[in-house]
Symmetry: C2
Subunit: 377 residues, 2 copies
Amino acid sequence: MSGFGLDYDVQATDGAARRGRLTTAHGVVNTPAFMTVGTAGTVKGLTTDQVKDSGAEIILGNTYHLMLRPGAERVAALGGLHKFMNWPGPILTDSGGFQVMSLEELRKITEEGVTFRSHLDGTPHNLTPERAMEIQELLDADITMALDECTPFPATEKEARESMERSMRWAARCKEAFTRRPGYGLFGIVQGSVYPELRHRSAEALKEIGFDGYAVGGLAVGEGQEAMFEVLDATVPHLPAQRPRYLMGVGKPADIVGAVKRGIDMFDCVLPTRSGRTGQAFTRRATLNILNARHRDDARPLDPDCPCPTCSDYSRAYLHHLFKAKEMLGPILLTRHNLHYYQQIMAGLREAIEAGRLEDFVADFERQAAEGDIPAL
Amino acid sequence: MSGFGLDYDVQATDGAARRGRLTTAHGVVNTPAFMTVGTAGTVKGLTTDQVKDSGAEIILGNTYHLMLRPGAERVAALGGLHKFMNWPGPILTDSGGFQVMSLEELRKITEEGVTFRSHLDGTPHNLTPERAMEIQELLDADITMALDECTPFPATEKEARESMERSMRWAARCKEAFTRRPGYGLFGIVQGSVYPELRHRSAEALKEIGFDGYAVGGLAVGEGQEAMFEVLDATVPHLPAQRPRYLMGVGKPADIVGAVKRGIDMFDCVLPTRSGRTGQAFTRRATLNILNARHRDDARPLDPDCPCPTCSDYSRAYLHHLFKAKEMLGPILLTRHNLHYYQQIMAGLREAIEAGRLEDFVADFERQAAEGDIPAL
């Protein structure tokens, strides 16, 4: 442990892209990594065996949801989140800030922190940098995220600066409150909206405080892929090379590929799970809606090139039937496929970086995506 | 194949109870057997691997649901129900009669068959003995059930007789229309409500026609366990000893144990799956509602003596949390447990009959059930 709580070993680079190994108290995460979202102590619809089988090495838990139900103290009394949900591998928890900020009518932000009312029962709660650290320690997260304010989009330069500066003051309080333990780490979060100078200043402020990893926050909030990549171009060069970089809440496969090219190591997003529940499948060639009638008699799998259990064992016709009949197995099987597909992309990126062939990988990825779905029968 | 489509080998008996092996085109079913209900081409919430892992050797599909959606001809074009739903083992399909009769306002019964309107879209449909055979053949069911009228309960002796007699005429038409194939079989269904003489006459009528197996229908419709057992006592002795006997739609664990003692070989019921989805768990000692607040902080499994994946890996507190949060994984894990528990009972019954110790097994079963749930912490 290099003086930090988390070892991070960059094993290969290809341009700005990095192939790394992050070592936590509950195991190793190979990067670039996609973290499967398990909001309320469960990846919706899947057993943890199925999550692991998809290739996931680390999952994300949401502090906001868990602090309200079942409660961080209860999870701690039951042995921590890993044991509670039967996931022995690494877990990252967010700070709760993002969800609390989204409450709008129900929350109030001050320098001290955020007060809010639970969306479940209206009870008042308080989230400060110190309490965010305490909750994530109670949950036993391998990676703790600093409490920040996710700056609304769009924001004026002045709004973005004031918001970012408060987040930096909170980041320092988080560092102070965080209990250092081997294999456990704290990540700071760069803010600054779409303003390159603010992003730069935020990165410098976080480096000054010193974190185990650096996240880029406040993106994937409606700014579009081009603006997002511009922010990454203005931010990533200012982050320490030897620490992991995490782009929060991103994204579509093409967003992830483009961000890896720009030096991002970690991602999380609800897209593969949430889309899977509503009938949307991501494949190499297209994003398709299984409820479309053209799949009704199609004996072929979602993606003929996918080795996942859904594509190995089930036809589009069957998946279409399950969604039409509102059967739980439909969301389950589509979520499994989407998660496998995302992890296949990550594995492909890691291999390509190791081999120094990232450009070829990206070209293949874009060529396949341009082909569109396999022709109807 | 003993001149029948299905081989059935009674390997041991203990009193009236039998330990048998039923050989179908898609594999062997050890009896007494519990058939997991997979209504619309899926055991709700579970992958077929999970169903198999529970110990299930045979599942049941519902003709009514499948004929309406996705349609029997479509399933046939997609390779049959086994391939469609990725269940390579034996499948029994019901005739559709039970569900059609339940439509009440939407159906009309004549000597020819039943006309009804789909509960999905109101389209008119027709179910005759001949069409019921055709549909089940299209689905590729290993075991086809004759179309019968499930006599409403209560019914007068006259109503029950007329209904039973029509079912017997339909049974003869089913036998005529059924395509004999090695490894595929047709079961007749005894009716006659709670009237012993009608049950006796129905059994004799079916034997005269000749079937691969004999089901007892029209029970578990509100008559109570005592009346059900009386009907079995009046019926089972009139069924052929060398053919399997199937008690339709039954039941609670104690119903199954009592029916096996009376010579029944096969069962199906939605209880373990439907109850699992609503938070009810069956255990050796009690039936418990996981939503009850007393489970909120309980780190113990549902059933400390159960080797199923749910009891091995998850606490009551976690299951309680999942149900409170309305997470899909709650119903999934509870359904898995319930199915494992049902199959554990069946395995215990089979072993006990082989060993000539069925009385001991039943005594143990009743003693445990009387103990009640493990004491609260």
